[in-house]
Each structure stands twice: as C-alpha cells, then as structure tokens.
C-alpha cells in the first residue's frame, strides 16, 4: 500500500495563473481532505470531499475548488493565484464511517507563486 500520494511535489506559478493539484487516497479510504500549510504554520483546513461532493469547507475563498472522482481520488484547483497562496498543500484521507477518525497524510505539493 503506497499510502496517500500527491502530485506534483513541487511547482512554480505566476500571479493570476491557475493550478491543479492531485491526490490519491490510501487504499480503502473514501474521504479526502485538503489542507494549506504556510511556512511556520499548522495545516489549515480547506475542504473535505466524500461521495464526490464537498461536505465541509474551511474559511477559504471560492478561488479554491475541488473535485472527487468515483475512484475516490481528488483534485484541488486554485484560480487567480496570489502571492499569498504560496504554501505546502496537504491531502489527507480517511474513512467517513469509522471510530478511528485518523487522518493519513500525503507528503504534500509545494506551490510557489511568483
């Protein structure tokens, strides 16, 4: 089991561009959550997907959107990039109906906006 995998690992964009980040959850997991981690900060919750729908959302603008596919993989899209969007984007997978509530994290995609 490869665990949670994310791509790309690093990318550089310029202001105003759009970016798509991808995540494959741990085998057997059905829920994907996305987090933004700025330098020196803890992970900030962006949103959570289950059954191909957004179920919970953090305090992020509509420029941040996502998608979940039937195979449970997920994408995070960010439009009209700002310098402040530079961060490590983490994907975490879990099982919605479990007592464990443990999140399994990927290694992240580091986005730099110039």
């Amino acid at each position: 089991d490869a665990g949670v995998t994310q791509s790309p690992t690093h990318l550089i964009k310029t202001r105003g561009q759009q970016v798509t980040l991808r995540c494959s959850p741990k085998s057997g997991h059905d829920t994907v959550s996305w987090y933004q981690q700025a330098l020196g900060q803890g992970p900030q919750f962006i949103f959570q997907y289950y059954e191909e729908e957004e179920r919970q959302r953090g305090n992020f603008p509509d420029r941040f959107s996502g998608h979940q596919f039937p195979n449970y993989s997920s994408e995070l899209n960010v439009n009209a990039l700002l310098l402040g969007d530079s961060a490590l984007y983490l994907c975490a997978s879990s099982l919605v109906r479990t007592l464990s509530r443990e999140l399994f994290f990927g290694e992240g995609s580091r986005l730099t906006v110039l």
């Binding site: 949670v4 803890g42 179920r55 919970q56 919605v96 399994f104 992240g108």
Partner: protein, 111 residues
Amino acid sequence: AQRVTQPEKLLSVFKGAPVELKCNYSYSGSPELFWYVQYSRQRLQLLLRHISRESIKGFTADLNKGETSFHLKKPFAQEEDSAMYYCALSGQLGGYQKVTFGTGTKLQVIP
C-alpha cells in the same frame, strides 16, 4: 467555531528531562482531540488520540474539559522525540468531521 492553540513554537529540553507540550482548545460540542507528529523528512502522522487513552512511545495526553486542555506529556525525553508536534481537534457537522490543527510546537531534545 473550533480553535486549537499551542502557545509554544519551540520547546528545548535535555535528554532524560520531562516534556510537556501544551494544547488548549475551543469547541462548543464534545471534542475529539489528537496529537499528530512530523519527524524530519517524514509525513505528518497520528501519535495518539484521547479516546484511546493509550501511551504511544512513552507519550500520554489527558483531556481536561474543565480547562479545555489536552497537554502532551512524557516523563523522560529521548533524542528521537525531536520533531514537530501538532494538536488537533475533530468537530462533527452533519456526520462529517472537520479537523482543525494548532500552529505546532517544535520539540528539540538536547543530547
């Protein structure tokens, strides 16, 4: 709203000394608290959860609802404990969990 506060960015202790990483939370419902750890060059991973009441790698944490705290403790620090520690709170809305993390505390164990 749910919030997690970790007041210390850095905690340095000598090997063999006791460790206490502080965590306070704010949540209107019944909270589920966790500690996650990130060792150098590794991904973020679960260390322990309050409902399990278990000791992992010598670490324990007790949920104190009166003080809204969930401090992480270890009686004798080891060099391999050096890592970034994040306190996290899981809140429920409509059956779906939202996990909020604190800003993290870097534990540095001095040999």
